[in-house]
Amino acid sequence: MTMQIAETHHIAPTRRRFLLASRWLLQAAIVAVVAVLAIWLALAVREALARKGIQFSFDYLSTAANISLSEGLVPSLDGVWPVLEPFSPSHSNAQALVAGLWNSLKVALSAIVLCTVFGTLVGIGRLSTNWLVRNLSFGLVECVRNTPLLIQIVFWYFAVVLRFPPANAASNWFGGLIASRSGVFLPGLAISEDASLASWGLLAAAAVSAIAVLIVAGMRRKLTFLALAIGTVAAAAALGFPLNFDLPVATRFGARGGVALSPEMTAILLAITVNSSAYVAEIVRGAIDSLPKGQWEAAASLGLSRSDTLRDIILPQVFRIVLPSLANRYISLTKDTSLGIAIGFPDLFNVYGTVSNQTGRNLEGVVIVMLTYLALSWIISICVNTLNTGINGRGETR
């Protein structure tokens, strides 16, 4: 190409003008080609749709959906107050898509938290001094990473969750966890009706103190805040505790109460958590391996135990290194929720499929779903980048 010599100064001015002009022409040509392609695509699609008697429009979003979803909440207005209510067929198509997005986010956010915790544990397990733990962690990671996620999802659904005992003979573990093939019930927190404002205030103070325990430096201050947290919690309990444990109760027709997870939700959450944990484990292990070995040796020569070294020296540095890789993993994980369609979990992609089958609005729906996933990816990267500059920026100035 021609433009690389444009910087050299001993070319004649006319030649130079020619080179500059040809550079602009090239730019314009590329833009024109892409624009023509895009317009041709749009026109061809419009013509094809017109032949079928369909017009590209987003009007269908506001009409009633007339579909039923097994789960999902939608924002709605109760008078003037915005509320979340369960999706019903009389809601609009747009609300159906929002319900799907709600389900996707529910799985994605839970899986992000769970896979970070389990992945870190397995990653540390891969470097354990115990031969068995080390190799088991390695085997788990390899099994998960070398098989497709889809078979893991259908396996968890058809071979595990649907093989749980039926609802009238549900397993009840540790008094609080009820598992049956019609769903899994976990203990939850419920707001008690008769809580006073004062006890709420005390609970909030307790939460602030608990966070302060984690943030402040120095043993004495930590102890002060810890005492404060315990004291406020005790005072709140004395006034009538505002939160209750809501334990699920097994009945002859299934379970009630607590946090209920549908079988599909249970399966996809388990599959994605286990899958992503393996990837997070590899990220964490790679980061620990990348730290200079001298740090372990220096810590050992100071008399620190292996677990102290890990907790106080290695892991704080690891979390600085792994954030960008974790962000990529979180984005993949969010995209992976779209596989819910294979087991009938009403995630965004599945709901999009149902809605477009009903309305014939495939292309409009694709635009919406694509933009939603793009936005989700951007939000995750922005969050992690902010955290990254927060942590690493502070680390540099210290």
Binding site: M1, M3, Q4, R23, L26, Q27, I30, V31, V34, L41, A44, V45, A48, L49, R51, S128, T129, N130, W131, L132, V133, L136, E142, C143, R145, N146, T147, P148, L149, L150, I151, V154, F155, F158, A159, R163, R306, S307, I331, K335, D336, S338, L339, I341, A342, F349, N362, L363, V366, V369, M370, Y373, L374, L376, S377, W378
Partner: protein, 377 residues
């Protein structure tokens, strides 16, 4: 002997109190799980279901009287894999024994499950693969021909398999052919995207970056489904089979990932080399093709091989466009009421096959990485 074992256990399992506690929890649990699994595999599982449905698992709904076409493609695939091995792995005694044993096991399993004819054909294909491996490794001319041979092989597989119709392709054969085709298609497209992203022409850079970032932010299943529905709208007069539309979707999606790998390879080439080549008066094209790309691609070969695993794992998503891949074929068998109790047998078999293929790809990728790291030292 037993003192050595005791010393090993002491050092590796009971070195510290925490390790002792871990071992005391893990060993009984693991032993119980292994025991239950072994009892199931050896005594309780009814493996006849696999033998009875092996043809469906391997080729889906491909017509029975046309199965010779599938066998020809299996032989071609084995020869291609052998040639690929010949480029990267020395056929030493251990490696040859391992591959020959694997081939013999598969052939014996095919003979036991389907019949002596299938066993002979499988053994023949494996022998062809090993011959290609040794041949390509020995002869420099064969090595030069290996890459064009790969393309010819894929074209031949398409030519042999297509007459009964693309919509009849299925089973593991579909997954493998789709993976190979998409892997080959993504490389040139990915290189062009990566070069475009690094280009000094701003508009090209912006367009390529936008394409790569969009593809990396949306799920594969959405792209495949979207391409599948939009192609008939763009070309209403021709009917392009689902399989080819699906492959286009996969290629468009994974090209963005290849572009990112290639870009990391491009960045690994020292800038001084580009400057030196430019100062010798080379054009941008010559610099890229003769100086930068050969070095950059060398660095990214392990990542590209690893990406083949992603494509193979992603190939399970073809169910969304109505194709019957390996996993879908397994689910089809389970949908038959007389197999309804055989859920675990089918899934364990599917897992084992997926793991064997995935593990082999991962192994190859790691080997290449170690090989290249040694070469560049």
């Amino acid at each position: 002997m037993s003192t050595a074992a005791l010393r090993w256990a002491r050092r590796n399992l009971f070195a510290k109190p925490f390790d002792v506690a871990l071992s005391l929890i893990v060993i009984p649990v693991l032993a119980w799980v292994l025991y239950v699994f072994a009892v199931w595999v050896l005594a309780e599982a009814r493996w006849e279901v696999i033998g009875g449905s092996l043809t469906v698992l391997m080729t889906g709904i491909y017509p029975a009287e046309q199965l010779w076409r599938a066998w020809v493609s299996v032989a071609a695939l084995c020869a291609m894999f052998g040639a690929g091995l010949g480029l990267s792995l020395h056929p030493g005694r251990t490696a040859l024994t391992v591959v020959a044993l694997a081939g013999a096991t598969v052939a014996a399993a095919a003979a036991a499950a389907v019949g002596a004819g299938a066993g002979t054909l499988a053994a023949g294909s494996a022998a062809l693969g090993i011959a290609a491996w040794v041949g390509v490794h020995r002869s420099a001319r064969a090595r030069r021909l290996a890459l064009p041979g790969l393309l010819v092989g894929v074209a031949a597989i398409f030519a042999v398999l297509s007459p009964p119709g693309f919509e009849l392709w299925g089973g593991l054969l579909l997954s493998v052919v789709l993976t190979i085709t998409v892997s080959i298609l993504t490389v040139p497209f990915g290189i062009l995207l990566a070069l475009g992203r690094q280009s000094r022409i701003a508009s090209l850079r912006v367009i390529c970056t936008a394409y790569i970032e969009t593809m990396r932010s949306v799920p594969l299943i959405l792209v495949v489904y979207w391409i599948w529905i939009i192609v008939p709208l763009l070309a209403p007069d021709t009917s392009i089979p689902s399989l080819l539309r699906g492959m286009a979707g996969y290629a468009l999606f994974f090209a963005a990932y290849v572009a990112e790998y290639v870009r990391s390879g491009l960045q690994a080439v020292p800038k001084g080399q580009v400057e030196a080549a430019r100062s010798l008066g080379m054009s941008s094209w010559t610099v890229n093709v003769d100086i930068v790309l050969p070095q950059a691609l060398r660095v990214v070969v392990p990542s590209l091989v690893g990406q083949i695993l992603d494509i193979f794992n992603g190939a399970t998503l073809v169910f969304i466009i109505g194709l019957t891949d390996f996993l879908r074929a397994g689910q089809m068998i389970l949908a038959d009421p007389q197999n309804s109790g055989r859920t675990y047998e089918i899934y364990v078999f599917l897992f084992a096959v997926y793991f064997a293929i995935g593990g082999a790809i991962t192994f190859a990728s790691r080997r290449l990485e170690a090989h290249l790291a040694r070469g560049s030292r």
